[in-house]
């Protein structure tokens, strides 16, 4: 089982690295880069929401902070926004500490709502602090590197780092504690697990990588405004959809979900015209109703069932 996973991961990595040999059109490369960005945010969200069970409706706060960290460096100090790739994730993690302090006192839907409110507060603050953030006009930079190939490989490295880090966290002691908190927080507490501290261990890297994706986004798209990067429905809620589409609490779920989300979104946009979001919404409803564990989650369940059947049939035959 372990070997199978490694082989699959290597094959996927090889596929991802070689993909630009076949896909050269800028539009297609753009789609791939968007998929990578959403995979990173989704994987980061999954660590907190999927494994620890703390569903956040406010990840746009971290994404926006990362993006603005990069943008403001250029806007105020004329420093290359690439430094934002360092500053952005750090800023998001630093802000996540007080946020964790406030929000982890709450549970379940209350936590989700508090995060939602925080995300919106950030959006409104960045819209109204005009002298600091340039307000609703947003920040426009001249990208220092044109050509998509560079962004693709940088993004791929970012995704690999995110996947590896979350994989290591999830398969360490911390990861098992997080799952136990998700399954039954009271039981976890009574076993002596300091639940709030461990939730913070999930929030911190989650905010870090979301901020990293935000800074990357600023460098790549070269324009942000508060209504784009702090958007509730287009960032905070969509990241949850991405993870749910792919599979909650699975390693590859967010990546698969991101690919589906971007690909289907673009497909509908180019073929269906103004009805595209409507069809997307219908699809979302259907998937949640009929594939509650996401694509990867359902495949995992099917494989487990197949393995169990094989075992019983072998036992029966012998």
């Amino acid at each position: 089982m372990k070997n199978k996973n490694i082989v699959f991961t290597l094959l996927f990595a090889l596929f991802a690295v070689l993909l630009p040999l076949f896909v050269k059109a800028p539009y297609q490369m753009h789609i791939l880069i968007l998929i990578i960005i959403w995979s990173v945010i989704g994987t980061a969200w999954n660590l907190l929401g999927g494994y620890a069970g703390q569903v956040s409706f406010g990840h746009a706060a971290f994404f926006g902070l990362g993006a603005y960290a990069a943008g403001l460096l250029k806007f105020h100090y004329d420093i290359s926004p690439w430094w934002g790739m360092l500053l952005g994730p750090v800023a998001a993690s630093v802000i996540s500490l007080p946020i964790g302090l406030i929000c982890f006192r709450l549970r379940g839907p209350y936590f989700a709502l508090a995060m939602l409110a925080l995300g919106e507060i950030f959006r409104l603050l960045f819209t109204n602090l005009t002298s600091f953030t340039n307000g609703a006009r947003g920040i426009l930079i001249m990208p220092e590197i044109t050509g998509k190939m560079f962004y693709y490989y940088l993004g791929l490295a970012m995704l690999a780092l995110t996947l590896l880090t979350t994989y290591l966290i999830v398969h360490s002691k911390v990861g098992y504690y997080l799952v136990s908190i998700r399954e039954d927080q009271d039981a976890a507490t009574s076993l002596g697990i300091p639940t709030t501290r461990y939730k913070n261990y999930a929030l911190l890297p989650s905010a870090f990588f979301t901020g990293l994706a935000g800074a990357f986004y600023m460098n790549y798209v070269a324009f942000i405004d508060p209504n784009i990067v702090f958007n509730l429905s287009n960032v905070s809620v969509m990241v949850i959809l991405v993870v749910m589409l792919g599979g909650v609490a699975t390693t590859w779920g967010p990546t698969v979900g991101a690919a589906m989300y971007i690909f289907l979104g673009e497909l509908f946009r180019t073929t269906l015209g103004s009805a595209n979001v409507l069809v997307f919404g219908i699809l979302v409803c259907l998937i949640i109703m009929f594939l509650p564990n996401g694509v990867v989650g359902e495949i995992n369940i099917l494989m487990k069932q197949a393995a169990a059947r094989k075992k019983t049939s072998l036992a029966g035959g012998a």
Binding site: V55, P109, L124, R182, A249, S274, G281, I282, V284, P292
Partner: protein
């Protein structure tokens, strides 16, 4: 002093109408324990129904409201019966998938409206739209005053319905303890369906009352979802009277914020109140009264 008085009165009137929308949400949240992110979209649909009645048939919004309510009751029942109820039975890792389903419903409703009506801003111009009544030196908009009183009447009727009728009592029983209610012979799936229907109908009523005051466009639902959340948490989940008071508090806080801080920070006032209540008064205003 005139400015202050006018600000507070305006806040109270607007808050009363917000409260009616929020009562629909608090009912749904109290009974089903889910966050309904599609609530504002239901308000929006109700507003469009009233708008069409006015534009096509010349029906006054205050009468069109009585057409919008049954339509939304029906839509609400369908959503609950065929979509949300299904999810109670399926197994998934996170219970929040119900919330996400309401996001999907919100998308579908909003985009359907956009497909039919485009993203244009629309408004209803009635003979009384810009009429103003005077109280001393303070001027008060007539549609606001009318809307407020109708909203209060609805709140009262709902309160009587919940306390005096059989269905109302079953709804309250289900909200308090679903399992116990089922043992007592309450048909819980029917009750949740009716609750969702009533919640949607009240959302439509609130929307119709606000129609003469607001511009109507497909995305306006987000605004109402946010406001009803704040009010629901402020009042305490499942408490109609809490929602009524919460609505007034939010209305006053917002208009004070808009007058004395700035228009842009108006929405932050509501969100900060929301966070503070979540942290320091998790049961909302309801829990103070009970103590």
């Amino acid at each position: 002093m005139v400015l202050f008085g006018q600000t507070v009165i305006c806040g109270i009137l607007l808050g009363g109408m917000y409260a009616l929308i929020a009562i629909g949400m608090t009912l749904i949240m109290g009974v089903m324990k889910i966050i309904n992110l599609a609530h504002g979209a239901l308000v929006m649909v109700g507003m469009y129904v009233t708008y069409v009645c006015f534009k096509e048939f010349g029906i006054d919004p205050y009468i069109g409201m009585f057409l919008a309510m049954p339509v939304l009751f029906f839509i609400g029942c369908l959503i609950q019966k065929y979509m949300i109820n299904r999810l109670v039975e399926v197994d998934s890792i996170l219970p929040e998938n119900q919330v996400l389903l309401t996001v999907g419903i919100m998308l579908v409703l909003t985009e359907s409206a956009r497909l039919i009506f485009k993203s244009d801003y629309r408004s209803v111009a009635t003979s009384y739209s810009s009429k103003v009544a005077f109280l001393g030196d303070m001027s008060i908009s007539v549609p606001m005053l009318t809307g407020f009183f109708i909203a209060m009447i609805f709140t009262l009727i709902l309160h009587l319905f919940l306390t005096k009728t059989d269905i109302g009592r079953s709804i309250r029983a289900t909200a308090q303890d679903r399992d116990a209610a089922v043992y007592m012979g309450v048909n819980s799936s029917r009750i949740t369906m009716i609750t969702f229907g009533i919640g949607s109908a009240l959302a439509a009523a609130g929307g119709s009352l606000l129609l003469p005051l607001f511009y109507l466009f497909p995305d306006i639902g987000h605004l109402f979802t946010a406001k009803s959340f704040i009010i629901t948490i402020l009042g305490g989940m499942g408490s109609t009277m809490g929602a009524a008071v919460g609505g007034l508090v939010l209305g006053i806080a917002e208009s004070l914020g808009a007058t004395y801080i700035s228009m842009g920070y108006k929405d932050i006032v509501g969100l900060v109140i929301f966070l503070l209540v979540l942290l320091f008064l998790p049961g909302g205003l309801k829990s103070i009264v009970k103590r």
